[in-house]
Every structure is written in C-alpha cells, then in structure tokens.
Symmetry: C2
Subunit: 108 residues, 2 copies
Amino acid sequence: MVGVPPTDVFSALANPVRRKLLDSLREGPRAVNDLAGQFELSRPAVSEHLQVLRHARLVREEPRGRQRYYHLEPDPLVEVRDWLHPFEHYWRERMRSLRDLLDEENNP
Amino acid sequence: MVGVPPTDVFSALANPVRRKLLDSLREGPRAVNDLAGQFELSRPAVSEHLQVLRHARLVREEPRGRQRYYHLEPDPLVEVRDWLHPFEHYWRERMRSLRDLLDEENNP
DNA sequence: CCAACGCGTCGGGAAACGTTGACGCGTCGG
DNA sequence: CCGACGCGTCAACGTTTCCCGACGCGTTGG
C-alpha cells in the first residue's frame, strides 16, 4: 500500500475499514489515534487507510498541534450515487420510502 | 480468482470492467461473447469478472442453447445505496434534483 | 456423427493490496 | 532542553487480484 494509489472512489470504498472510518467521520473530525481505537489494527495500518481516503479526496487533514484531525469530504461520493442512480429504476417499491425520507429532510 | 470467495458488493464494484458489465446489462440480458466484445480483454477474463458478479449475486445466468445469457440482479446494490444515504445529508443542494427525479418516477 | 462454436475453469505469472515493525520528524510538557 | 507523544512513511512479506493461454464439456449445424 506504499505506492501511488489510483485515487478511485469505488476502490477506496471496497475496504470495510475505510467505510467505517468514513462512517465515524460523519459525526465530526477526529484524530488518528482516536479513529484507530475503533479497530483491532495497528496505527500505521489506519494511517495508510487514511492515506487511501486522502488520495480519493474523501477526507482532508487538519494539523492541530501534534495531532492531525481528519475531516469528511463527501463530494467524491457523488460519483458513486450517480453511477448507482440508473439502477434505482429496478427497485421502485423501495423508492417511495427514500422519497419520503428526502421530503422529511427538506420539509422538517 | 479460482476459489469461491463470497465477494461483497463493494469489492465487486471496485473494478471498472465489472461496473461497465453491469451498465451493459441494464439494457437487457446478453451473452458472454457479446459482452466481451466491448473490452480489450480476453474472453476468459470477462468470464471471471462475471463469476465475481455472480458470487456477489449481482447477475444471474440463463443457459440458452450453447450460449449463456446474463441477467442483471440489482438487489444487492441496495446495500450500497443504504450505506451511501447518510452522506446525502452533506450535499443538500443536489438533493432537490434527486427528489424531483424520484417524484417524476412516482408521478409520471 | 463430427467439426465448430460458446463458455467455464484451471495453471501460472505479474501486479496490486494489507499488515506489521522500525524509523524519523515535529510538537508539547516538565 | 530533553523525553514522551502523535503521526507519517518505509521495507518487507504474505495474500489477493487480474490477466492470459490451454483444456474440457455441452450444444449446434452440416
């Protein structure tokens, strides 16, 4: 994992650890040791997963003293949503619940 | 790629060839040689990508004489959509267009 | 019945990936 | 100023992925 990663969003999401990292960052920026505490993984391993996410532009790092806080940067996920969208056509039944959820977000 | 690993959906989507295969199958079932014609790839390579998609339950095969037609089976993509959904919260601006599209589907 | 076709699968080699221990650099506290 | 902390990165190794050529099996057409 040392070389130059392909910065592909889909590949970045292929790993469950990286997906959980993004899930955690939804609640706000967090430092590396804090994030690493959630996994049975060495800290370098988490660091390199974060590097993959950084190259995919899914996270941004902000140095704070001797720690580095990582922020979620969800924009590239639009590519996934756009690719996924034509398939929504196929499970129309579940679309209503999604629309209701979106309506709830827009008209609270 | 010879074993029988129960591939998860996210890993199946990590490869661009497999994503294009799913895109092609959106327009209807197709045979392997037909699909392989789209790529600069050997037919066995395409066959093995289809095997990955089959293990992820994203496609189904239907034998027709000496050909095998592959059908799209988009249900597992729901897992991707469900994982993605909490992040929609972050690009609210683009949510309106999605909602409008869903409204259009539901009230044609 | 036999040759050609369509396809899955195996063998194997190259490349990519994931993990760990070791090292280095900047930062903070005493 | 010095040791501890927080973190990135490298070297190395095992595992997985990706691709191809070769083979085998069932189907079809002559």
